[in-house]
């Protein structure tokens, strides 16, 4: 009686099973810290001091938190571009391209409207344009997959290059502002249509976009029939067809939503950071988003946490160079080790005997394991 009431909140799952999703990621992060510590020691730095600096630079103060959140906000949006289709069983890695297309559409909308409308409406138009452009871009990969059987991973990857080339062509040609000499860039969007910062911070509104989009994506996937249908199709596409689910429509819709999120990240980058379109928009936010999605196991709420973690790692990159004389690639090494460890830990789910339920035996019998 006593033992069942304490475990009652796990709704019938054994405590061993419930521990698994907590212990494995923690173990993975701990192993990563140990491996990276060895790396630091080999590079001539004191690992504990390095970890202290990383913590201080990423989460040690409100200023450090702002630094972290600024870097995390585009990742939240681009991660959804991989996370959502993954629930359908699709591996989409066209985040970078969708982000670029979103930025391009946002700039086009912003420049076309200019100052003819109030700034808020121009921003809204830019956001809608980026959502549609990014959405259509990834929907293209989804449509190729559904109608023609083209591998969506390859096609979405290749679409990245097309998007970047298209953007480069436009900013070096028709959209180019000849007065801006430092690099080929589009004309600047009107100041009224700039996306500002959250009150009393230096974090732009992109963070809120990211949080809202992640929450909406979570509700959509976990709490609606649409999401249930998508997950069913992801689990077994033939069974889903047999059950009469519109797999084609689901594919297109989910891909559209996924691309919209990355597209919105492009709009934020243009409206809040660069104020014009140029190659600076291609800064690997899309590829980092793929990592975030995989580490978060494609759970739209977990992507928020992982984005903040990665944002923190990126925010600490400078201090590693400046205070510990570590090379500039160190932060990438750390990032790579953390993600490899977490991804490896994924393969351990259900394999470690200690986390398996012992339904057949009484509890006392497994104490010796």
């Amino acid at each position: 009686m006593a033992s069942t009431t304490t475990q009652g909140r796990f709704a019938g799952r054994s405590w061993r099973e419930s521990l698994e999703p907590v212990v494995l990621p923690l173990g993975a992060v701990l192993s990563a810290l140990v491996i990276f510590g060895v790396f630091c020691a080999l590079a001539g730095a004191n690992p504990l001091a390095v970890y202290g600096s990383i913590y201080k630079a990423a989460f040690g103060s409100w200023s450090a938190w702002q630094n972290t959140l600024i870097r995390a906000s585009p990742l939240m949006l681009t991660a959804l571009c991989t996370a959502l289709p993954a629930r359908l069983g699709l591996v989409i890695i066209g985040n970078e391209g969708a982000l670029v297309m979103g930025g391009l559409a946002a700039v086009l909308a912003g420049l076309a409207l200019g100052t003819s409308l109030p700034g808020g409406l121009v921003l809204l138009a830019m956001a809608v344009a980026s959502l549609v452009a990014g959405g259509l871009w990834i929907m293209l990969a989804g449509a190729l997959r559904h109608y023609r059987g083209v591998n969506e991973t390859i096609s979405s990857l290749l679409l990245n290059y097309i998007a970047i080339a298209l953007m480069s062509h436009l900013v070096q040609g028709p959209l180019r502002d000849p007065a801006f000499v430092s690099k080929p860039s589009s004309y600047e969007i009107a100041e009224a249509a700039w996306l500002g910062n959250l009150p009393a911070t230096r974090i732009h509104w992109g963070l809120i976009y990211g949080l809202v989009a992640s929450a909406l994506a979570y509700i959509l996937i976990q709490r609606t029939t649409f999401g249930f249908a998508a997950r069913t199709a992801g689990g077994n596409i033939r069974a889903a067809r047999m059950a009469g689910l519109p797999v084609g429509k689901l594919t297109l819709a989910v891909c559209f939503l996924a691309g919209s999120c990355a597209g919105l990240a492009g709009m934020v980058e243009v409206a809040a950071v660069q104020k014009r379109l140029n190659e600076s928009i291609v800064s690997s936010y899309g590829y980092a988003g793929i990592l975030v999605a995989f580490v978060a196991r494609h759970n739209p709420l977990a992507t928020v946490l992982v984005s903040v973690l990665l944002g923190g790692i990126l925010a600490s990159g400078g201090i590693l160079q400046r205070s510990h004389d570590l090379p500039d690639a160190t932060v990438l090494v750390f990032q790579g080790i953390v993600f490899l460890c977490v991804l490896f830990s994924e393969s351990l789910y259900g394999r470690l005997a200690i986390f398996q339920p012992r339904a057949a035996r009484p509890d006392g019998a497994v104490a010796s394991v």
Binding site: R87, I93, S182, K183, A302, P327, Y349, G350
Partner: protein
């Protein structure tokens, strides 16, 4: 972690895909960019006690500090500043992208390290990042390589400096023209912006000053760092029988190494690349940031600032002002080529040689400088260069 994850267990195949995606990311994020050793930062607490008025100077680079190119040139200059000016402490950060990341780096250098002077060196840092930071921190000086400062438009604490490195490219052209029997030269260029075009033109004019039949084949790669295309361009030039190859890309490493392997002469850019091409390296147009950074460092220590007007907002110069220099001649360079090169350096330094003299025709047959007139190195007209001179094979669009 959510307990809902069980609705989506990962198969081993998906994990493999994840690993592939990870390594793909590693490649795109230029995982393999080497390791730079910073030899001169004083560590966290540089309380040597010797210099009570320590001045913290921050340098920010867009790529690694040992790229054999643009960033290495600046990093060497920064090291020289610290070595030559007592009391300066250097903080450095490499591989900082032109996004909010550079703004955060500048802020962190100012707030955590107490930097009073910043040198964010990449061209693309200027607008909007440097301008925004300069307004927020009016007592910190920002120096930017690129000559983009506009009086009255930009904040008072922003300065810019740049060298007329095309003078060095002219000399490199003289040497290349002498060393090539057929007069066929090649130029791997990143983007058709005025600076790049000017380098191509000066290189060609230099070559044609000693060999009027010389031509320069130009191939644009489209990006500042595009190693695959740079190698392709270099190979295709070698296939065409081009005898000397130079370039204007962020890191000339790939061009130099590829050309050396193909047995083609090379002429460097940004920094000294002779270790990459020990046999075929002729000379090269190098930035010489050491002298300018050292003299700026001395002015900082003397209490001079941009804000009070003691340091000019725009600093420019060429070979004569030590803003740029030539790489030492390689072993293959003949004595007469050395003599011609040295003569050109002397004439430019003395102000006797003006590179852009009329009549000057473009390679499409238009006259840009009429007979009897000339454009001196510091003429702003040259900063709008949007043409190739006669002798260049290639088009801008």
């Amino acid at each position: 972690m959510s307990d809902r994850n069980h609705s989506f267990p990962l198969s081993r195949r998906q994990v493999m895909r994840g690993l592939l995606a990870t390594s793909a990311f590693g490649l795109t994020a230029k995982f393999g960019t080497g390791c730079a050793q910073s030899s001169d930062t004083g560590g966290e607490a540089a309380t040597d006690g010797a210099a009570p008025e320590e001045m913290v100077v921050g340098f920010i680079y867009v790529g690694p500090k040992d790229d054999f190119g643009y960033n290495q040139a600046h990093a060497e200059g920064a090291a020289a500043m610290v070595a030559n000016v007592p009391g300066i402490r250097l903080v450095e950060e490499a591989s900082v992208p032109e996004t909010t990341a550079v703004a955060e780096t500048m802020r962190s250098m100012i707030e955590i390290d107490g930097a009073k002077v910043l040198f964010p060196t990449s061209f693309g840092y200027f607008d909007p990042h440097i301008l925004a930071m300069a307004e927020e921190f009016p007592d910190v000086q920002f120096f930017h390589a690129g000559g983009l400062y506009q009086e009255g438009v930009h904040p008072k604490n922003v300065g810019s400096y740049f060298g007329y490195i095309d003078e060095a490219q002219y000399v490199a052209g003289v040497v290349a023209g002498r060393m090539s029997k057929s007069g066929k030269l090649g130029f791997v260029a990143a983007k058709p912006i005025p600076q790049v075009l000017r380098n191509v033109n000066s290189f060609t004019l230099g070559a044609r000053s000693v060999n009027p039949a010389a031509t320069t084949q130009v191939i644009f790669t489209g990006e500042w760092a595009e190693p695959v295309k740079e190698a392709e361009a270099t190979n295709s030039m070698a296939d065409q029988g081009i005898e000397v190859i130079t370039c204007h890309v962020d890191s000339p490493k790939v061009v130099m190494e590829t050309a050396e392997r193909r047995g083609v002469f090379t002429s460097g850019y940004h920094a000294d690349q002779s270790p990459l091409a020990p046999e075929g390296y002729l000379t090269g147009a190098e930035w010489d940031w050491s002298s300018i950074y050292t003299s700026l460092g001395q002015e900082f220590m003397a209490g001079k600032t941009l804000m009070t007007g003691d340091i000019p907002h725009i600093l420019r110069g060429g070979l004569a002002d030590n803003f740029c220099k030539m790489s030492p001649y390689g072993p293959a360079v003949s004595d007469e080529a050395k003599a011609d090169g040295d003569a050109a350096i002397a004439a430019i330094k003395a102000g006797e040689l003006v590179i852009y003299q009329g009549p000057l025709m473009t390679n499409t047959g238009d006259e840009v400088i009429p007979a009897g007139s000339e454009l001196k190195t510091d003429d702003v007209e040259l900063e709008k260069t949007d043409y190739f001179v006669e002798g260049v094979i290639g088009s801008i669009s």
